[in-house]
């Protein structure tokens, strides 16, 4: 059984319908049973059509939880520890053939998998044969529910961005690995995702948390300087960065963590 989870935030109805249809058709093509859960992370008035309301679970709005907490809440609501969880961004859709291709990868419960983003791939390196990669993207991912629960899901400290890198590294720390499924495509529009200064600052704030958590103190300081500089140049208020009290902080950067490419956390292909 595959459980799909989608965190909605100001998502257009047309996008939701397209994504839902793509899930239905991809599952039909691959003969998978599935459930779909939507979590409303914004309070907009959105009337979902009956075809979706009657066949999916909807978790109503209780405030904007952020990306990771949103997925954690969906998994919590599933009341099962068996099967697989696929998290998808609401602004994309699955290729109808993606889940059929997924079978070829023979996913195992200890590992964390990402779908290939299309048409603009992430530049990080992956192994041509095994698909092994430094981390798996949260835009479209596959993980066993047992592993997700064992790891405690996404770290709620990250509101948005870098929570997927953190989860990937925790998978590696536990002895698992991350894989890219090169022919299982997820259409994702990233043409202008990084244009706004606010978005860039949110990313930097998350990178600081990630660096502090994984023992890269000097990197965290460098990113903080960049963030403050950005704020000053654009006359923006200071971004609050959570404190890491009571958390497991690594004193030495583990070998699987890569802080050499800022924001990419991996060797890149271009």
């Amino acid at each position: 059984m595959i459980h799909f989870g989608i965190v909605l935030y100001d998502t257009a109805l047309a996008d939701i319908i397209r994504l839902f249809r793509s899930i239905e058709i991809a599952c039909r093509q691959a003969c998978y049973e599935f459930t779909v859960t939507f979590l409303r992370n914004s309070d907009e008035h959105l009337i979902l059509p009956d075809e979706i309301l009657n066949t999916t679970n909807i978790i109503e709005y209780t405030g904007n939880l952020g990306f990771g907490k949103g997925h954690n809440k969906i998994v919590e609501s599933l009341n099962t520890g068996e099967g697989w969880y696929i998290g998808l961004n609401p602004d994309g859709f699955l290729s109808p053939w993606s889940l059929k291709e997924l079978k070829q990868w023979k996913p195992t419960v200890d590992n964390f998998y990402e779908f290939q983003q299309h048409p603009q791939e992430h530049p990080k390196v992956f192994d041509r044969i095994t698909g092994r990669t430094a981390w798996a993207s949260g835009a479209a991912f596959l993980i066993s529910l047992s592993l997700y629960r064992d790891l405690g899901g996404f770290d709620p400290m990250f509101f948005m961005y870098c929570e997927d890198v953190d989860l990937s590294w925790r998978v590696y720390e536990r002895g698992g690995a991350c894989y890219n499924m090169a022919n299982a495509l997820f259409f994702h529009d990233v043409c202008d995702n990084r244009e706004s200064v606010t978005t860039v600052n949110q990313m930097l704030a998350s990178q600081i948390l990630l660096a502090r958590k994984w023992g890269a103190t000097r990197v965290a300081e460098e990113i903080t300087a960049r963030l403050r500089d950005n704020e000053q140049r654009n006359h923006l208020p200071k971004t609050q960065i959570s404190e890491l009290h009571g958390r497991k902080l690594r004193t030495k950067i583990p070998l699987f963590c890569n802080f050499s490419s800022p924001g990419l956390f991996s060797a890149t292909r271009w």
Binding site: R18, R21, S22, I25, Q29, G92, F93, S95, P96, W97, E101, Q104, Q116, H118, P119, Q120, E121, P123, V125, F126, R128, A182, N183, L185, F187, D189, C191, D192, A267, T268, R269, W270
Partner: protein, 339 residues
């Protein structure tokens, strides 16, 4: 071809030659179906395919139609057996288009989600009746084939650094999927070259630029990806300078080039005045043969020393492609700067 000015639909003509192209055609169609622009159609143009192969392509396309609602058809154009009709295929497909806008795409390339949105916006921003096409930026991606139709992109770079109308006339720098044509503004319909399997798209562009103005406002905004197999296997299907490198020895290609050069010398083209003023920006390293020669020799020597004669020969056969095909870690600083 009768196009309606009030119908703002764009039709993507996808060129596909055989059913073996289906895995890549699916990814090309997926990129079309995800366009932000709301009014879309797609026409998959195939040539001389048996009915069962057309059926296979149609079945795959039906599934995609169910997901995205993309209005897509497959048309099998019949030509005399035994020839290569890549230019004619596009011309025949173009004749069937009834929408206002049209764009072309090869089965192994992709368009980005902003493709139609940006290029049609540029066309609408200028209501000059002569403006018939808008050009966008293109990224060239070198890849290796993996199993099951997957690919591994080894590197990406802009197709050209400074795409302009002038550079397009001098040396074709806009692949077929980097522009959108407004059919209602064409007073002369350009034709893809049919006399040869090479440079058919260059013939079309020169025709277009001779009779119409074009917009290059977004020529540096990436709107599509031009995918090149590192083994050179899909070079043949390309127009422009990428194909002539591989077939430089071919007498047929030399004949086509000579025809194109002749056409360029005897015709007038519309070049924006701003580009004429700043024409020096077109100067690039490729036009400094001495420096380029020294650099290539130096790199070839280094590769021979480290990796042997065979690898050096591979580099010398096409230095730019070789360098861009290497993973980032294996590209030296010189390769990164100059190629």
């Amino acid at each position: 071809m009768v196009s309606n000015q009030d119908d703002n639909t764009i039709t993507y003509i996808l060129r596909c030659h055989s059913v073996t192209c289906l895995p890549k055609l699916k990814t090309a169609l997926l990129s079309v179906s995800g366009q932000r622009y709301p009014s879309l159609k797609a026409l998959v143009a195939v040539q001389n395919l048996p009915t069962d192969e057309v059926g296979e392509i149609t079945a795959a396309i039906d599934i995609l139609r169910d997901v995205t609602g993309l209005d897509v058809d497959v048309t099998n154009f019949i030509f005399p057996e035994g020839g290569d009709y890549r230019g004619a295929l596009l011309n025949r497909a173009l004749e069937t288009v009834r929408s206002r806008y049209v764009s072309f795409l090869d089965y192994d390339d992709v368009v980005y989600p902003n493709h139609a949105e940006i290029l049609i916006r540029d066309l609408r921003a200028d209501d000059h009746a002569c403006l018939a096409a808008s050009f966008g930026g293109c990224v060239q991606a070198f890849y290796d084939d993996l199993s099951n139709g997957a690919i591994y992109i080894t590197s990406k770079a802009p197709f050209v650094r400074l795409p302009t109308v002038l550079s397009c006339i001098i040396e074709n720098c806009f692949p077929i999927h980097s522009y959108v044509v407004d059919l209602t503004r064409l007073h002369y319909v350009p034709q893809f070259g049919e006399s040869s399997p090479f440079l058919e798209d260059y013939v079309f562009l020169l025709d277009l630029l001779e009779h119409h103005c074009v917009s290059v406002v977004s020529a540096q905004t990436p709107v599509c990806e031009y995918r090149l197999n590192n083994d050179g296997s899909n070079t043949f299907s390309r127009g422009g300078r990428k194909s002539h490198n591989k077939h430089i020895g071919s007498a047929d290609l030399r004949r086509v080039w000579a025809g194109i050069e002749q056409k360029k010398r005897t015709r007038c083209f519309r070049v924006p005045y701003d580009e004429i003023l700043s024409h020096k920006t077109y100067e690039t390293l490729s036009h400094q043969p001495l420096i380029r020669g020294v650099l290539v020799c130096y790199l070839a020597k280094r590769i021979r020393k480290r990796q042997g004669v065979a690898e050096a020969a591979k580099f010398l056969s096409d230095p730019k492609r070789y360098c861009r095909g290497l993973p980032t870690q294996r590209r030296s600083l010189l390769m990164r700067v100059f190629f």
